[in-house]
């Protein structure tokens, strides 16, 4: 991961900003990397009663510092879990409505928070670049009450038009998501290395709501492949604190994910 000038890495920034979005007494569907670090940090800061649900069919793990999982389907991901119900069951908890928040990322994102992790260029059958696929991302964004997208902010990722919608955000905006059959949820937040974004309530277009310290609106615009709305009440985020960074670095001392 790239290391900004102030010594905070991209994933540290995403994990800290992601963690602040999580409330106590809630549930979060979290994957490996920044999402698990954000969830672990939130539990140690302000949300001790936050429960993690993991794609591998794991409920309530307490990951061991220094032994963070590489995949959502391995023993490190299940360490000190409260329940191991299975993969299908974990997603069905989300379909029932038990999951307040889901974290996902993606190779490409558009102005309505749709994500592509399937194929770039060409056709589905003969893509220019075949990506790994949805995994559980489509289910998380379809079924959780609210989704937070965590991503590095780069122009090639923030795309004007996706070749494939792997994970549906607000689709074409307005009522499109509801009309498609997705009656619940939606993307609430996009947390990037440049700032925090929400979505306009009517058009469902992405809107810049806060900048990280030292980042300008022009920088955001130059790093975004579509026209981004800017909030009238734009704020600046509080930089990661020593306490937050200390907790993250204790969780991942080898900086495998930081």
């Amino acid at each position: 991961m790239s290391a900004p000038a102030n010594g905070v890495s991209a994933n540290e920034l995403l994990a800290v900003m992601g963690s602040r979005e999580l409330a106590d007494n809630t549930t979060v569907f979290a994957g490996v990397g920044a999402p698990m670090l954000a969830s672990g940090l939130a539990q140690r800061m302000h949300a001790p009663l936050l429960t993690m649900v993991i794609e591998g069919g794991i409920v309530g793990p307490r990951w061991k510092p220094g032994a963070l999982p590489i995949s959502t389907n391995e023993m490190r991901a299940a360490y000190r879990a409260q329940m191991l119900p299975g993969i299908t069951e974990a997603f069905l908890l989300a379909q029932r409505g038990f999951l307040d928040v889901g974290f996902i990322g993606g190779a490409q994102i558009d102005r309505h928070g749709n994500l592509n992790t399937t194929a770039i260029g060409g056709s589905y059958d003969r893509p220019k670049v075949r990506l790994p696929g949805s995994g559980g991302a489509n289910d998380i964004i379809s079924l959780c009450r609210s989704v937070i997208i965590l991503t590095v902010h780069e122009k090639r990722r923030f795309s004007d038009a996706l070749d494939f919608v792997t994970s549906p955000g607000w689709l074409t905006g307005g009522e499109a998501r509801r009309k498609s059959g997705l009656l619940f949820g939606g993307v609430g937040r996009v947390v990037t290395t440049l700032g925090l974004f929400g979505f306009d309530a009517q058009s469902r277009r992405m809107r810049l709501e806060a900048l990280h310290t030292g980042v300008t609106v022009d920088e955001v615009k130059a790093s975004t492949g579509f026209e981004v709305l800017v909030s009238d009440t734009l704020t600046t985020t509080k930089p990661p604190t020593e306490e937050e960074l200390g907790i993250l670095r204790a969780l991942d001392p080898a900086r495998q994910f930081l």
Binding site: F91, D139, S142
Partner: protein, 320 residues
């Protein structure tokens, strides 16, 4: 649309199961005899998930028979999917995701074979694939779900969206997937094929019920009495199993919950081979680890006792 009628034809699947012996008898056999039940063109579903409890001993035994025309499905496909592509064994990969994990990057083999159009990857969401096996396990042609709608994934396999007969709301009708063969690795079984799994169950119990033929390897063969003392732990009934093979370290170098940890360094060596030589790197790996060893013991000797003991130590530590 890439799904075939035989994948969701619940009547044909039911007749096939009704026509099959459901024996409470002996199931123990050898790896070679077990995989001889797989025919060219079969749909083979793999148990476990990614690098957890992958039935690698069965996959290796199957590939030694040089099968062709298989469809291969798995919830998250690890590099066994790459082996099957490079070995010329598969016509279709059905999964929600393929790779090893973040540290190893995109699968170069997946890219090469899919981008050139040689082997299609039929992509489903993770839950949707789970519900395909679940629907088949229930003996019905589809299950309604709230997932995947609005996305491009609906078009890939040719899923249908239906109106709920009660509320009128849209629902995804996730089509059943009845595999011809299921390959699984479990913690323990008795000689009759009653199987117990520790830790996360993945989708194995559904895959067993969905498939026409079930081939299982077990870390340990225990007495019937031991199974009967803990019947609540049994997740696969013996009458559903066609062949059982005693294979300690049957998913190694992938993990088996509580018994041994995975070997990420081995994955890195495998990927290095691909980075240097492309598909030829996979062929070299297959020669050394799949086609080369005549027995499972010879295969394990390639890793050595020290590595196996260390994997066991880490595996126990991670559940204590």
């Amino acid at each position: 649309m890439t799904i075939a009628r035989r994948e969701y034809d619940f009547q044909a699947a039911r007749k096939r199961l009704e026509g099959k012996a459901k024996s409470a008898g002996e199931k123990l056999t050898s790896l070679d005899e077990a995989v001889a039940r797989v025919k060219n063109g079969d749909h083979v579903a793999l148990g476990g998930c990614l690098f957890s409890r992958t039935p690698l001993a069965l996959v290796r035994a199957l590939l030694r028979r040089r099968p062709t025309g298989l469809s291969l499905s798995r919830n998250l496909m690890c590099y066994e999917g790459e082996w099957c592509m490079v070995a010329g064994a598969v016509d279709k990969i059905v999964t929600s995701w393929m790779g090893i994990g973040l540290p190893w990057g995109l699968s170069k083999i997946l890219r090469e074979y899919v981008e050139s159009g040689r082997v299609p990857m039929e992509e489903w969401s993770h839950l949707a694939l789970g519900l395909r096996y679940r629907a088949a396990a229930m003996g019905v042609p589809f299950l309604p779900s709230l997932t995947m709608m609005g996305s491009s994934l609906v078009d890939v396999g040719g899923s249908k969206i239906i109106d709920c007969p009660y509320t009128g709301e849209k629902l995804l009708a996730v089509p059943a997937l009845f595999p011809d063969v299921a390959l699984l690795h479990v913690h323990r079984a008795d000689r009759l094929g009653n199987c117990q799994i520790d830790g996360y169950p993945h989708m194995d119990a559904d895959i067993v019920r969905a498939a026409a033929t079930v081939l299982v390897t077990a870390e340990e063969i225990v007495s019937e009495e031991e199974i009967r003392l803990h019947p609540d732990r049994t997740v696969i009934p013996g009458f559903a199993v066609d062949a059982l093979v005693h294979v300690p370290f049957g998913s190694y170098p992938h993990e088996c919950y509580g018994l041994y940890d995975a070997e990420p360094d081995h994955f890195s060596v495998y990927v290095d081979g691909i980075n240097r030589q492309g598909a030829a790197g996979v062929l070299a790996y297959l020669d050394r680890y799949v086609y080369g060893p005549a027995t499972h013991a010879e295969y394990l000797a390639l890793f050595g006792d020290a590595a196996l003991a260390e994997a066991r130590r880490r595996g126990k530590e991670l559940v204590s």
